[in-house]
Symmetry: C2
Subunit: 341 residues, 2 copies
């Protein structure tokens, strides 16, 4: 039986996560769920973000189902770094998985782009690059101040995420993989990424490949997002590119994500891309679609392929059946999808 | 009399630059133009990108009018780094200016966005950040390989570009300035940018301000580009954000840019954002609008405000008068605009 740690978090996080849990229970009855009260409330009470004892408990789960963290009462960055990024790094979640699909029933802000036409997965490196926190500040807040940020890239770390992306591309219909970097300016890191990409490509002869600079890719993501199948890129570029991908597929309402340790040595975290949305929290009107799609990624990761597919199809069917623009009640959506399964 | 160095460059660069020059001659008769044959042809002939003697000559001009450089015959990055970036750094072109406007007669890929609704300027820092080339590679192409890239940020460099952006915002109708960074992850550089921004803001009480993370800004650039007036950001974020801005205003057909040394201690470079487009080069069908708008930025920089305005209005009128989608002849567009002046 799967053991899932639930970190529902703040704001609408608790509301949408309850629906994701409901849906997992519907397809995998008997799953063990353990709640962990982390996020803004916990931080304000204890001034701690993630005590080691809780982290050790989280480590003894198969996966973490996360809602959203963040509240105006906490200084920006504290929870993101102390919880989300800490889990990514400590649990070696090196594959940051972000599918983007224009689902039937949703509308792209791009004129003339129809549901079904956009269907991509961005595989973002999760534990290297500029996210490692290397760098420093000298002479703070004087005219002599300097600040540095260092992007660290290892062949080991880059190669494994590229290999993961190739394997995903190979399993998809179009079997196409785009590497995104900025090799013309970031020659050191870009060179390493390009060399690793070329080396791994030889293992996947069926997969067609392409390279784009991050600036060009950001433009194509708007002018022609249909062209992408699987995209692999570094931590920061992936952060940016996945938000553009979410925007062109109608915003973060359907954007799911997984911070994945593919070897399952550590638990992986699954969460909607949207935040805690304090402005609408507690009203029961948050759409749980992205949270439930994140649950589908979780099921897929744990090897429950059939259940994962059924859940994402049920979400798709529910969204397609809605009256466009009609307000949704969080629990009703969860009930409808659970009932359909 | 202004002395302008012309680096027409490769592919369509030569064709569109001729029109930009024609237009400057129309509004500022007697301007001195000196041609410099740099780019792929020069590199292939000499294996040099920018000899010091030529750079010294360029330095004795008021501005550089650049077309486009790049050709498949030259390894990627060589000309970009050896010419474009070298000029930015050696000529201290720390303000990288990129206006984005949805002009009448052009179409945004965004549904329902009408001409006039998008009108922003991105002020991108031009000589610091990840573009400095700091970093290295160890154990190249072995499993032990590591590669680093270092972002260097000085209070001096950040403050001056922020001050420039505030001054531009103050001169515009909406007087709004958005700082874009990633302070929640890049705490060192982000902290310096945020502190410098807060300090300079005190000098411009009329300007309203806002902060956004780069990932959120990339999303808003698609979902609501109308919200931006002036944006200030670092070198790499500016590279990405301006390409998204170009995409939502209909692509790079109207995208002009200036790499500016505001003190005019060194010449500034003005160029269209588009590349050399080898596929359509030599056919006389490239639209010179972006090159002529870059000439308008050049005129503005040299203090010819009235001429700058007249040129950009003439481009706007020409574009608005075209039959949508009708092919344009490069020289005819230049002739029409020059004649209208
Ligand atoms: C909250 C923040 C640290 C995080 C990131 O930058 O990775 C978020 O933007 C994301 O994409 O998951
Ligand atoms: C060609 C390249 C070095 C350059 C950059 O990255 O700045 C280009 O993308 C630009 O935006 O001017």
């Amino acid at each position: 039986m799967a053991r899932i740690a639930v970190v529902a978090g703040d704001g609408i996080g608790t509301e949408v996560t309850a629906q994701a849990q409901k849906v997992i229970e519907a397809v995998l009855p008997g799953t063990e769920f353990n709640d962990y009260d982390l996020g803004a409330r916990f931080y304000n009470r204890t001034k701690e973000v993630l005590p080691q004892a809780i982290q050790d408990e989280l480590a003894r789960h198969d996966a973490i189902l996360l809602g959203a963290i963040g509240d105006p009462s906490v200084p920006p960055g504290v929870l993101e770094r102390g919880l989300l990024l800490k889990l990514r790094f400590d649990f070696d979640q090196y594959v940051n998985l972000r599918p983007s699909k224009l689902w039937p029933g949703t509308t792209s802000p791009l004129a003339g782009v129809k549901p079904g036409e956009i269907d991509m997965v961005v595989v973002r490196e999760g534990v290297e690059g500029l996210y490692v926190g290397a760098g420093g500040v000298l002479h703070k807040d004087t005219p002599a101040e300097i600040a540095t940020e260092e992007s660290l890239n290892t062949r080991f770390g880059v190669e494994r995420v590229i290999r993961d992306a190739f394997a995903r591309a190979q399993r998809r219909d179009r079997q196409h993989l785009t590497l995104v970097h900025k090799t013309n300016v970031l020659t050191k890191a870009g060179g390493l990424w390009a060399r690793a990409f070329a080396a791994v490509a030889a293992e996947f002869p069926e997969v067609t490949t392409e390279y784009q600079h991050i600036d060009a890719a950001s433009m194509f993501m708007v002018s022609n997002p249909q062209r992408y199948d699987v995209v692999v890129t570094d931590n920061l570029f992936g952060d940016i590119l996945t938000d553009i991908a979410a925007a062109v597929t109608g915003g973060i309402g359907m954007a799911a994500s997984g911070s994945v340790n593919p070897e399952r040595k550590y638990p992986s975290t699954f969460e909607p891309v949207h935040g805690s949305a304090p402005d609408i929290a507690g009203q029961g009107i948050a759409d749980p679609a992205a949270a439930i799609l994140s649950a589908s990624l979780l099921l897929e990761h744990l090897g429950h392929h059939d259940e994962a597919r059924r859940v994402s199809e049920a979400v798709a069917a529910d969204v397609a059946s809605r009256t466009p623009g009609a307000p949704q009640r969080t629990a009703e959506v969860g009930d409808r999808i659970a009932a359909a399964l």
